[in-house]
Symmetry: C3
């Protein structure tokens, strides 16, 4: 391998030359990471990573899903009862199957980390597996490969974790009390106490009542409990909430109906329709709270989680069996937007797994509603082609200034620089194409590139 | 700025060279504009335009929606009660925010008009706002910048307006009685007397009865009234009707059911389902009338109008809050097509805001039903990327000859040459790519380019 | 014309150079054709083709639909009662309208066959029609232009036909008994005895009972009859079943419900909902049978067949009036996948006419479920742009190894080499772009190209 300096830049020589210049102007800017899933323990306790398999294979659902698709059992990847426990065996399995990742972003992220972080420049294969393993393992033992040191090495300016409403944020407290200067902020993700279909919903609401001292048996008390938790999160640095819903549906029920709906779902056994309506109503309630407390809202909608019952039962969630659904935002967001969408205090960042909504709905919506911003390409679309499709579909209607910069959205720490690097390269290529086709002046492209690389994220997430 | 002669042409040098030659072959052809929204008063009375803000900002919903999306109040754009009345102040606001339009077609259209019509070659910004304003205002005062003179200057061969069924076409009568040689034709757009959910539907039907002398209290009389208005429009030069519906649904009810449905919607308070069914039935009725009187039908389906209740109430329609919906034509058009779709007298031109229908439905439909033609990319898709996606998605299944040429579809007079120019450039680039990849011979590309630039529109709209 | 050696390769010179090398590495590999609609009689009886119109025009629904779209009557193409019977007249009509195919894959396929097979290098037109006709007719009379000789000339390694469940496979028996070495395998396509809405469903089930000796009046007997027919097909070389359904819906009903559903549809007059549910259930039953007998399953879902009632009544099916529908696989496939999707014996190849499902659903599904493979771009998407969109949308999530190679899927024998050639060229261009943008190493591209050209199809269809 050996990372090519021009990778991901457009093939046409004149376009590539300009893209390269644009990329160089932003390549070394600090990383702003306003949405992701790194483990707060890494930042609070700064532990060493145990081994290459734990770093690159076992917890990465992009990696495990591809191996699953070709018949590799979870146990061989170190997952489930009786799983393989030898990290070198897991690593060899991965290396032997590395060809499966040809043409995928995982390949780009992994090779970027292997070379830039661990000095591994041979392509992974059965033949090179052990050499790569040893090189990584050797470095992981060094103190400069602990999370906080990597934060600095990666030139991260701020990184957000994603935390349940009931989380005590103890690791965040620890790191805020430490002398480390890194900025790690929690994100308020209340799905488990908002979704009546979440496992243990009733118990979670009981616990929410205990934690806040609010009566979560009543609609008013339940809302007050959210307000209290949001305030606590804000006191710990939080600037945004995040909501992962199966659909983007919102509702704005009259108060009596909302209360009655809460009573139904609180008792348990709510119908699917009631559960959906309650989630919908809660998005609008959360937006109303945002007007008061200033949290930016994120909505990640459209995934059918746990597509295999057997896999979920045996190996748990987040094993790659989450499959996107067709989505539509136009009518779904209408209740929330009509309730609070013209209020200048609201900021709502939208994400989709259904690319058909980019040009049809999301760009037209964000191109007129002042509260809306478009999040970057999400999950399966966080890729070279995905980013190109996003810019081509979104820009002509929403422009650049209604987009929210890049998210790495990852639990794979070592992939963070690679992911931001891919985005910066693709955006540089896109801007260069606009200039070469005379849709944008060159000085404008140089002004926009750093916006896309960090400033828009800082602004959209109020991280300034 | 200064318009680059190669703008919008493909970056690859060999492709660009051929694209340039194709473009030059069509660049100066007359403009055929068979669908649009210019004000008939311009053509009847030939007034001077008042000021730069009225010409470029206040009435252009592409412009105002982008400013709205970034928090600019309507009042500052000259819209609504107590609005800003100083055109220079509105212009400055626009110029200060001109960076928002980077990467959008509005940017291309505006700069094309500024430079080619008003000699403004500095990029708009706070610093250049006043110079541009003065240059435009100075020229607007000259007689050669009145609408009829611009028509000639733009080399327009024919232009269609869009007119309600109840419109008396007085301005059209005036211009037909004048010695001006321009060809301006009305279009029959009966939505207000077809859609039971349109405001004032019952009163509009009463009025339709008065105007035509038909009994619009009965189904037969109502249809007769349409026939009468269509005949009147045809006498004024009309060659096409246009239908703006939320969905492309059609119906072909037995006569007794259609009559009963009319009775229900005529009384007012029809359910949403009945309203939708009535609109669906009326599309088929209109198609039947087309067999007799020869009007080409246009169907513009798939917009959710007035997405913000508050904006609609305070500032009226067409303020940018119209958002596309998912659409599907396959089953929706079936009743109409099975009723009259094989009749050689019918011509039905389809438009969509849902690009997923291009390759999935519209190209397969237009590629077999003899009555169908595909209209050009509409609204948010009337853009460089939008046109490229259209050609790439549509051509392989429908070919070129089942498409209907270009529409500028605009109420912004000065943008007309720019819009046609964009289409001619993108089509030239697309054709050049076909030749360079040896999917088309060069002489064929030179034969197709003028078809796309005008002939197909002339034929599809029977404007020959 | 004269086929250009670089046709369909990317315009950028460096990319084209590499694409050319990749193409040359696979251009002459044998053709693996695991799904198609060639006439078994061709292989069993090896007849001469009668004339150019029968070879290129009358039976090709891509060709006839385009002519229909421009008002050409079926009769003039040789279809229907009182149709034109002079093949030269039909050919002239076709040649006169050949410009309609500009920009379509039909154009590429036809010219490839005309030149490489019949030495016709003049572009078809009214002026050249007769010369081309004579050249083709002259060669068709020669023995080396009979089907088996073309099989050898085309370097076909194996070709599958598509055969109804009730078919006696007599032609297959004949050819297996002959001394010809070609490999032609039947495919089990049981739609007519699975779809309660198929014409003659009840009679077909009676016949299925007679043929198998099973009691197709009972659910158990009906399933046993399928097993028997599958076993017969397997004895004749079959490796795959194929299922053409309006939607990809599957079901996994409790046995008693499935039996009751069968009883309802067996009696006739089942509701549309019951018919859909029965088809859904049968997909899961077929998957269960595949676990036992090893047939690979293919699912071709999403076409609305016979969009014109009048055309179907007068001219029969497959006249071009089949229009795609919006599709969604995520929830639709869930029952089948949860029933048998983790069983290593299952292989299910998915096809779609709705490209929005590529990146949103199919790639995520095939990128995790071990039983799933993605079939190539189908029908309207079997084209240059269609293949590019497929690779760009699918590869980043599913990789290359979860795709199933190419299908020509045609009843037009002479188009087979052209179709495989188009796929090999587009794939070479795509791989070259990956290399030039440094997403793939050059040696890897050379390793993948032959996989896409044949090996993946051999593996996916168990034709090794």
């Amino acid at each position: 391998m050996t990372l090519h300096p021009d990778r991901l830049l457009p093939p046409d020589p004149a376009t590539r030359k300009l893209a390269r210049e644009l990329y160089h102007a932003v390549a070394d800017l600090p990383i702003v990471s306003p949405h992701g899933h790194t483990d707060p323990r890494w930042w609070g306790e700064n532990p060493r990573f145990s081994d290459p398999a734990q770093l690159f294979v076992t917890p990465d659902h992009y990696v495990t899903r591809m191996l699953t698709s070709q018949g590799v059992p979870f146990e061989a990847m170190g997952i489930g009862a009786g799983a393989e426990t030898d990290p070198r065996a897991i690593w060899r399995l991965f290396a032997r199957n590395f060809h499966l990742f040809r043409g995928t972003p995982s390949r780009l992220w992994i090779e970027h980390a292997l070379e830039s972080l661990f000095g591994v420049t041979e392509r992974l294969s059965e033949a090179t597996a052990d050499r790569a393993y040893d090189a990584i393992a050797e470095r992981l033992a060094r103190p400069e490969f602990r999370p906080r040191e990597l934060y600095d090495r990666f030139n991260i300016e701020v990184i957000a974790t994603t935390d349940g409403a009931l989380d005590d944020l103890a690791q965040h407290a620890t790191l805020r009390g430490s002398d480390w200067s890194g900025r790690v902020v929690p994100t308020y993700r209340p799905d488990a106490v908002v979704d009546p279909e979440a496992p243990g919903f009733a118990a979670a609401l009981d616990r929410l009542g205990e934690v806040t001292g609010c009566d979560t048996g009543s609609w008013e008390g339940y809302l007050a409990a959210h307000r209290a938790r949001r305030a606590f999160f804000i006191s710990m640095g939080t600037t945004a909430s995040d909501h992962g819903h199966p659909t983007p549906r919102t509702a704005d029920l009259p108060e009596a109906e909302a209360r009655a709906l809460f009573d139904r779902v609180r008792r348990g056994g709510a119908s699917a329709a009631n559960a959906e309506l309650f989630r919908a109503q809660m998005l609008t309630e959360m937006a109303r709270m945002s007007l008061e407390d200033g949290l930016v809202m994120q909505l990640h909608a459209g995934s059918s989680r746990g597509h295999s019952d057997a896999v979920r039962a045996a190996y748990g969630p987040d094993r790659g069996f989450d499959i996107p659904l067709p989505s539509s935002f136009t009518e779904a967001l209408r209740p929330l937007l009509n309730a609070v969408g013209l209020d200048p205090r609201l900021s709502l960042i939208l994400f989709t797994l259904d690319e058909t909504t980019y040009a049809r709905e999301l760009a037209p919506l964000a191109g007129v509603w002042p509260c809306l911003r478009l999040g970057p390409p999400w999950w399966f679309h966080d890729s070279y082609e995905g980013m190109r499709r996003y810019r081509e579909a979104v820009t002509e209607t929403a422009g650049f200034y209604n987009t929210a910069g890049f998210n790495d959205d990852t639990r794979a720490l070592c992939s963070i620089p690679a992911r931001h690097d891919v985005a910066r390269r693709v955006d540089s290529g896109f801007l260069a194409e606009l200039v070469v086709t005379h849709r944008l002046d060159e000085d404008e492209a140089f002004e926009i590139a750093p916006l896309l690389a960090g400033d828009l994220a800082r602004q959209a997430y109020r991280l300034g």
